[in-house]
């Protein structure tokens, strides 16, 4: 069983990994460039997190081989992770409230 999987992996080849690695380095470059440009905080936060999510997806699906796992495993791990992490965003409106509160003081 595990041998069959093994063959799928090696067929995808090291060229694919090299392309993914170049993609990750390029995305990091874009992030550093954005940092150099110094955009307003909210725009920066949204852009950087968007780019980082693409990087995370590349790492999870290609480097961690999630793409080659059974759908059942993907459905067990990913939705739980994404939903719980997304729910944490509930704090952000409050951070906004705090900064407006301190500005009005």
């Amino acid at each position: 069983m595990s041998e069959q999987e093994t063959h799928d992996h090696s067929n995808s080849g090291s060229k694919l990994y090299l392309i993914v690695w170049f993609g990750l380095i390029a995305l990091t470059g874009i992030e550093v460039f954005l940092g150099y440009k110094q955009l307003p905080l909210h725009i920066m936060l949204a852009l950087l997190m968007g780019l980082s999510l693409i990087k995370a997806a590349l790492i999870i699906f290609y480097f961690m081989h999630m793409k080659f796992e059974k759908t059942a495993l993907i459905l067990t791990i990913l939705p739980a992770m994404v939903i719980v992490i997304s729910l944490l965003s509930i704090f952000f409106p409050d951070a906004q409230r705090l900064i407006e509160h301190s500005a009005n003081r």
Binding site: Y17, V32, V84, A103
Partner: protein
């Protein structure tokens, strides 16, 4: 009824005797660990982002050169060590034991380079007067949360990298490491890399010294 199931109808994927995820229990365990650890880190990073947005006078001590360039090199070290790790898993899939050891040593070098650079960065900041409970007077008003969040998040990540380097060394040194062991070790290592992909922009790129 349960007897009938036990006697001979246990043929479906979920009736026992089968492996519904088609992965070994060790690998499933590592996936579940990655899931829980990602929640630990995301809680820390969300907490950090919260205080980052809510604090108007957040310090911006990192000069684009050298601090941010330095951190970019650290990022490149980790990304490259991830590349060598997939090469190790690839070699292991082909049964090339010497290749596995060679690529894992490459990964350990990348991880160690990251650790050394990061510790130098820490020493530099501590020399400037940064502590977990305060920032140096030259950076403007004291923001204790800056030091606290910085040392907690990067410290926990550094601890993961250190653990990963030891883990890799054990897997490479042990003669009886199977392909699955190498793969699981790779999962952990890529996860450490993945976490840094969020720590780097949030901590460094959002606190660049304005020119």
């Amino acid at each position: 009824m349960s007897q009938a199931a036990a006697e001979g109808t246990a043929t479906g994927s979920w009736s026992g005797g089968a492996s519904p995820y088609k992965v070994g229990h060790k690998k499933l365990g590592m996936w579940l660990f990655v899931l829980s650890d990602s929640l630990t880190f995301s809680a820390l990073l969300f907490g950090y982002s919260y205080v980052r947005i809510a604090t108007p006078n957040w310090p911006k001590p990192f000069a684009f050169y050298p601090s941010v360039i330095y951190a970019t090199v650290m990022t490149a070290c980790l990304l490259s060590s991830s590349l060598t790790m997939v090469m190790a898993v690839n070699a292991s899939a082909k049964g090339n034991r010497a290749g596995v050891v060679k690529w894992i040593i490459g990964t350990i070098i990348g991880g160690s380079a990251f650790l050394i650079l990061h510790i130098r960065e820490w020493m530099h900041l501590i020399d400037e007067g940064m502590t977990p409970a305060g920032t140096p007077a030259e950076w403007g008003p004291n923001v204790p949360l800056f030091g606290g969040t910085f040392f907690t998040i990067t410290g926990l990540h550094m601890f993961h990298v250190l653990t990963g380097v030891i883990y890799l060394a054990v897997i490479a040194a042990r003669k009886k490491s199977t392909h699955e062991d190498v793969e699981i070790c790779g999962l952990y290592w890529h996860f450490v890399d993945l976490v840094w992909m969020f720590v780097f922009p949030l901590i460094y790129l959002l606190s660049i010294k304005p020119n």
